[in-house]
Amino acid sequence: MIRLEQINKTFGANKVLNGISFDFAVSLTHGIIGLNGTGKTTFFNILGTFLKPDGGEIFFNDKKISRDDVAYLETANFFYPNITGKEYLEIFPSSNRQFDLAKINRLLKLPLDEITETYSTGMKKKLALLAIIKQDKPIYIFDEPFNGLDLETNMALEIILKNLKSKEKTIFISSHILSPLIHVCDHIHLLQQGNFSKNYARDQFGNIETELFADYHQRAAEIISGSI
């Protein structure tokens, strides 16, 4: 179990996470959805121990969560200049014994001997993804992993996520597009006003769109048709 106890985070006057207390089941894939600025990345930064909460604690199997428990793919990836893709990957410890770079790169087709400045956005995302799955951790966080990926790699990422799940890893994933989450998640949680306001199990996924967007869809259609 991953237990959040009264997690708070405020930036200036903006209370982003408002005393979240929540239990996430382990060995499942959890989708996190929410509008821009609702605190998804802040939540991931705190869960990944990249950011300290103002208050509250997170427990993983009844112990305080540790950086060693988590592998975290951030939304924006930064690469040190003048370093090749292969060298970037070598910086990270290779705790996943099954990880075979040559084999997986046959699928991802990255020019690993080139410096990362020559990579496209999607290629950079794939490289960062490789650095994450090279590590064997019980918890994986993927913040907007589908951004910038081509159709083939989108599919490959879904397979990677399913593979991690089959190894009983706990996965957190966010996306601005609902469909990939519906394919891979066991639960989807809506982050709203600093808290998880709604939670959907797999058999309720069909309701998400209608519950969240029915009203918005009608309103937006009226505004757009009258203004464009």
């Binding site: 121990t49 990249f50 300290k52 604690e57 997170i58 112990k63 305080k64 969560i65 540790s66 950086r67 060693d68 975290y72 951030e74 990836n77 930064f78 690469f79 040190y80 200049p81 003048n82 370093i83 090749t84 292969k86 060298e87 970037y88 070598e90 910086i91 990270f92 410890p93 001997d113 080139e114 410096i115 400045e117 020559t118 960062a128 650095a131």
Partner: protein, 319 residues
């Protein structure tokens, strides 16, 4: 003509000055005054003024080719050539205007024309992978050196060869080795991401120890052969060479400590250049030799303190 680019640059300069603080801003001002005074004197001599002028053009061309905002400026700012050339002329005025008051006054109009011509060049340095097998010799964990040497391998090797060739001469090799250290300190200007920061170390002390060890080992590999040969040819300089080696290692350690004192994930710490330059130049002046050592002691605690903020792991007590 709109002055948008100039206004942006002035805002940036103001921000950099604010981040420096009054002490370092005053030192920078003193350096600038000294440089302007020196240039004014140099422009009175025909030969020196030519060297300075050619060096200025090369520096300007280097800046123009390396600047990363060219695509944006040419695509989105009205009259980009005028904007860029005005920017170059205005910022170089303190260094080029003194020529007007000498017999070499003609350099000023040539400079303005050069700025205008250079501003027409839209091309920049093309990103390409040089020395792809460098990581066979330098571990990717030592990414600062790997990245820095990939960019500067040719000048560094040239300096090293020059140091080797001049080993018989008393002080020359030391000057070339010092220039290598000056280059190496620039390797620590760019900060890594948090992912990379956490990849190899669990605590700030562990990180600093590891970085210091790597940098010292590479400095020794570059410096010891030259200093030993120089010592054989000039036995009276052995003690000087040992002190020189110690000071150079201290400088590179200071570069590491300064980086982590001011570490911000993914940032390029351009603001550190001034302090770093003062310490490296200080190492050339005998009575200022203790400065790098003092600065290391001063920054060790500060770097640990800054890193603790990032390394904070709820499950662990940082040491």
């Amino acid at each position: 003509m709109n002055w948008i680019l100039l206004r942006v640059r002035l805002h940036q300069a103001k921000r950099q000055l604010n981040s420096l603080g009054i002490f370092y801003a005053l030192i920078l001002l003193a350096f600038l005054c000294f440089a302007i005074f020196y240039i004014l004197l140099a422009y009175r001599e025909r030969e020196k003024s030519l060297y300075i002028f050619v060096a200025s053009i090369l520096i300007l061309a280097g800046i123009h080719f390396a600047r990363t905002d060219k695509k944006f400026v040419y695509n989105h700012i009205a009259r980009p050539v005028q904007n860029i050339s005005t920017e170059y002329v205005i910022f170089s005025l303190p260094f080029i205007l003194p020529s007007v008051f000498t017999s070499q006054w003609f350099y000023f109009p040539i400079w303005v024309l050069t700025c205008f011509l250079i501003a027409h060049i839209k091309a920049g340095f093309q990103q390409r992978t040089r020395f792809p097998h460098l990581s066979n010799f330098i571990s990717p964990q030592n990414f600062e050196w790997l990245s820095g040497l990939r960019k500067n391998l040719v000048p560094v090797l040239l300096l090293w060869v020059l140091a080797l060739i001049t080993c018989r001469v008393r002080i020359f090799p030391l000057i070339f080795l010092w220039l290598i250290i000056v280059t190496a300190t620039s390797f620590y200007q760019q900060c890594e991401s948090l992912q990379v920061l956490f990849a190899s170390s669990h605590t700030p002390r562990q990180l600093i120890t590891q970085k210091t060890r790597h940098a010292t080992a590479l400095t020794l590999i570059f410096f010891v052969p030259i200093l030993v040969i120089n010592g054989i040819f000039n036995p009276s300089l052995i003690l000087v060479n040992i002190i020189f080696l110690f000071v150079q290692i201290t400088i590179i350690v200071f570069a590491i400590l300064l980086k982590y004192t001011t570490y911000l994930p993914n940032e390029n710490l351009k603001g550190n250049t001034i302090l770093m330059s003062m310490v490296t130049i200080g190492a050339l002046i005998p009575f200022l030799l203790p400065i790098p050592v003092v600065m290391c002691f001063r920054n060790y605690g500060k770097s640990i303190k800054n890193l603790k903020y990032y390394f904070d792991d709820p499950s662990r007590t940082n040491k």
